[in-house]
């Protein structure tokens, strides 16, 4: 008798199992990415949860998704942009005063120079901040960064270069 499963083409998990496994593997990293972009853990967790729920919801229609992590990363970045846009100027000022770089824990972990860098990163335009975080925190290549940001490689190069120049200027001003 031929075994029942001589050949099968099926997705490895149910949508719930697959998304839960992805969450366990990547959620912490994505929350950290979102914290760097938005500055607070509560928003970051909400954004990451939303990204995973979006993936869960569309799981059946995303049968050809080769790299779920890339999809999730782009979703999280998009969520961060939306969250930052929604914050009013006043809220943003309030929020900025409580960014992690100024928390007690960060004060203990970060040197004075690193805190200055954190403040400078926080003040960068959104796209430049995204490029910097993806390139230097996640160590993504220019191509992967471009895919996550949904821009061209040239735009990534340009944003990174401008961000580094801007940071350099800010730090020099701080020292003088």
């Amino acid at each position: 008798m031929e075994p029942a499963k001589t050949w099968t083409w099926t997705r490895p998990h149910s949508s719930a199992d697959a998304v839960t496994a992805l969450y366990e593997a990547h959620a912490l990293g994505l929350v950290r990415l979102a914290v760097l972009m938005t500055g607070d853990q509560g928003s970051a967790e909400d954004i990451v949860q939303d990204a995973f729920l979006g993936l869960y919801r569309r799981w059946d229609s995303l049968t050809d998704l080769p790299y779920p992590l890339a999809y999730l990363r782009a979703s999280v970045l998009n969520g961060c942009r939306t969250a930052l846009r929604r914050r009013s100027r006043a809220d943003r000022a309030h929020y900025l005063s409580e960014v992690p770089s100024e928390s007690a824990e960060a004060r203990a972990l970060l040197s004075e120079e690193q805190r200055a860098v954190a403040r400078a990163i926080r003040d960068l335009p959104g796209r430049q901040r995204e490029a910097l975080v993806l390139r230097y925190y996640l160590n993504l290549s220019e191509a992967d960064t471009a895919e996550a940001m949904r821009v061209s490689r040239g735009a990534v190069k340009s944003a990174t270069s401008r961000a580094l120049a801007s940071l350099g200027r800010r730090l020099e001003e701080g020292q003088s």
Partner: protein, 406 residues
């Protein structure tokens, strides 16, 4: 690496390191509300547009109400509500150019014929008839697969092919358990829980009518793997078609044998709730015909159509050197006249054999597909029958599939 890049790297890592625990994933919002409501802010220009749309809707409702008030309008509406929607997708199976032992499966939209999914199934071969069948929800198809092996007895495995709302294949998995024999015909029950099939012990098309299992009809429970069998106790006839009545309880079995002078057709309606054993003892004979296909008789496989009240059958009439293809609806109640649903004069000369043509109904029994199964078919297009016309099914005009279901 510059100093500033180093600083960015170390700073972002240190900042990210302040987060070490997060809350678990909560999928309740999706499970409780599968589709997210995207509420967009209304734009100013939408207001007059919405007002105009409301006026149009009111006018349309008034016109519809007036139409319904007329006797012809009521009749038309009754007919429209009785007709279930045409299936959204259909599936085809063909042997690719490489030849048998691989099946090429495609899912297409019935409107427009766009391919929504495509895959190959290795070590798979066709049965004698249609080797694809569809369940009633338009989202599950089933195929029977048997590899060609000369050294081992044929074993058929059924697979369930699930598709998404957009027509993509979301999974292919074995259904039930493998069964002995080479598949010849199959039909899944409308709810997708039971597979009716016939099989013969031969391998790779070398099975013959009259072999021990030829008169046997089986039903495999796809959840438990249990097989129930009914045997034609009168003769070793060959099943030439299986289809389920929309009630999901009656299995329509066409059996024919070549009697002297022409094919001898019997259509059984098997009560599948009955105990196993004799096919005759648990069936009603819905149709019987002996003799040659001469234009006044049904001599080809039938499918049931409508809520248990009629059979839809394929007929061929000789018309000089040509053949006329007929699809007729035969009421099961005695004394009621049959209705010709479709009639067409084939352009193939001397064609009187219907062996190259198939008839396949959707699980509701209302939408009947006519499809040429071979090069000698009198029919030149795959299509559905409606309003006395053959509506070509988009996407299969050039390459006729060996199997089709919707």
């Amino acid at each position: 690496m510059t100093h500033i890049e180093d600083l960015v790297r170390s700073t972002t890592r240190a900042l990210a390191g302040t987060v070490d625990t997060i809350r678990p994933l909560d999928t309740t919002p999706v499970r409780d509300a599968p589709r997210r409501q995207h509420v967009k802010r209304a734009r100013g220009w939408l207001i007059p547009l919405a007002a105009a749309a409301s006026v149009l809707a009111i006018v349309a409702a008034a016109v519809t109400a007036a139409h319904l008030a007329s006797p012809t309008g009521r009749q038309g509406t009754t007919a429209a509500t009785a007709q279930p929607p045409r299936p959204e997708f259909y599936m085809t199976a063909t042997y690719p150019a490489a030849g048998p032992n691989v099946l090429q499966i495609q899912v297409r939209r019935t409107d427009g014929g766009a391919v929504t999914a495509s895959t190959s199934i290795p070590a798979a071969n066709m049965g004698w008839g249609n080797n694809i069948t569809a369940a009633a929800n338009d989202r599950a198809f089933f195929i029977g697969r048997y590899p060609c092996r000369s050294t081992t007895a044929a074993v058929t495995t059924f697979y369930r092919i699930a598709i998404t709302g957009s027509g993509r294949i979301s999974g292919i998995a074995p259904a039930g358990r493998p069964v002995q024999g080479m598949l010849t015909y199959l039909a899944v029950s409308p709810d997708g829980s039971q597979m009716a099939y016939t099989a013969v012990p031969g391998n790779c098309g070398r099975g013959k009518p009259g072999e021990p299992a030829a008169g046997t009809v089986n039903i495999l429970d796809l959840s438990t793997g249990a097989v129930r069998t009914w045997q034609n106790t009168a003769r070793q006839d060959t099943a030439s078609g299986l289809s389920w009545a929309p009630d999901g309880r009656t299995l329509i079995i066409d059996e024919y044998a070549h009697a002297r002078g022409g094919p001898d057709l019997t259509v059984f309606g098997l009560n599948t709730d009955s105990s196993v054993g004799s096919l005759q003892a648990h069936s009603t004979v819905l149709l019987q015909h002996s003799g040659e296909c001469n234009g006044s008789s049904t001599c080809m496989p039938s499918v049931i159509a409508g809520p248990h009240d009629s059979l839809t059958a394929l007929e061929f009439q000789r018309a000089g050197q040509q053949a006329r293809v007929l699809i007729v609806s035969i009421p099961l109640a005695a004394g009621k006249p049959r209705t010709v649903l479709y009639s067409d004069l084939s352009d193939r000369p001397k064609g009187t054999s219907a062996m190259g043509t198939g008839l396949y109904a959707d699980p509701s029994g209302r939408w009947v597909l006519l499809w040429p199964t071979g090069a000698f078919s009198e029919v030149n297009a795959v299509g559905w029958i409606s309003g006395g016309r053959l509506h070509p099914l988009p996407g299969v005009a050039k390459v006729f599939p060996q199997g089709i279901a919707w």
